[in-house]
Amino acid sequence: MKLPMSPDEIKHFLIAYDPRNGKTDVRSFDTDYEAAQAAYSEAEHENSPDSKLDIVLLSADSLETIEQTHSSYFSGKTVQLKELLYG
């Protein structure tokens, strides 16, 4: 059975969302999962409890997919509840 995409083709993105200004920093690691995971742990260690940065490692075929599936990290600073619910 041919898979549409092999596990090695998945792309990795380290996301840092700052709730204070609604900015999302995205670091792309392309298909290098090991480098992405090392950077994930490093970013977590460096993140002080007071900074409130929300750091997570997300992976998919593209960043576009992640913006769909994990939209809460891309919502910006001001949100409209109605829009969040009904797009």
Binding site: D8, E44, D50, T65, T69, S72
Partner: protein
């Protein structure tokens, strides 16, 4: 999440991969770190804590390959239902230890969502079709139908726990409406009500979430929304909007 300090790293995720830890070592490390956070049990040295962090990180790293395999397969199954929106995540260190702190009996080696994959499907039937294909073809050790029985807060989705080469991976199947709701709940808790998911936070926010979920269910089923529910919803939405405005203005 705030309030959780992770000691500085001694090594990268890549270099810890060569070591192997037993499940009881993994459980001990998780418990030691969680107890330290709760301030219960004996005090531990910096070295002990750093060693525990390394074991927890190693355990998360162990999930990366199984997670990618499960996600690739899921992408294949979801592709039969249209454009496959599939993404995977390795659980954040702070939320791993928060969960252990919240649930004192939880063993890290049994935590089923250290590796998690989420698929958005076009509608509920598509989500059920994918779930039954997975259950036929994969080792699914648990299936939770939060559509038939939503969680107390109003959360809806299908959750499956798959075992892949000895590691548990959580699969979430959501419709776009269910996903919108869940992301909204996430944003609200981040805006200043972190306990919302666990029955905490302002009562009107919990009620707002629950009511908006109820309305979505009626909409999905093409049923009319009773005027009393509509009115209640409007009221709660105004309060929730105020909460968002105030939280967004404050420097956080």
């Amino acid at each position: 999440m705030s309030g959780v300090r992770v000691p500085p790293p001694a090594s990268s995720a890549a270099s810890v991969a060569a070591v192997i830890h037993s499940k009881s070592e993994v459980d001990r490390a998780g418990r030691l770190y969680a107890n330290q956070l709760r301030g219960s049990g004996q005090a531990h040295s910096k070295e002990e804590l750093e060693a525990a962090v390394k074991v927890i990180e190693w355990w998360r790293h162990e999930h990366a390959k199984p997670l990618s395999r499960v996600a690739s397969n899921l992408r294949h199954y979801a592709a039969a239902e249209g454009r496959p929106w599939v993404a995977q995540r390795l659980k954040k260190f702070p939320t791993i230890v928060d969960k252990l702190t919240r649930e004192p009996k939880m063993k890290l080696s049994r935590m089923a969502d250290v590796g998690g994959v989420r698929a958005l499907l076009s509608d509920q039937d598509a989500a059920y079709r994918v779930a039954s294909r997975l259950r036929r073809n994969w080792t699914i050790i648990r299936f939770r139908d939060y559509v038939a029985e939503p969680k107390a807060d109003g959360y809806r989705a299908l959750h499956l726990i798959s075992r892949n080469r000895g590691r548990l991976i959580e699969i979430q199947l959501r419709t776009p409406l269910q996903d919108n709701w869940a992301n909204m709940a996430e944003i609200l808790s981040r805006l200043g009500a972190p306990d919302l998911k666990y029955g905490g936070g302002p009562a009107y926010l919990r009620e707002y979430l629950h009511t908006s979920s109820e309305i979505q269910i009626l909409e999905e089923q093409g049923l009319p929304i009773p005027p009393s529910l509509e009115e209640r919803y409007g009221d709660l939405l105004r309060q929730a909007d105020n909460f968002v405005d105030e939280a967004s203005d404050e420097p956080r």
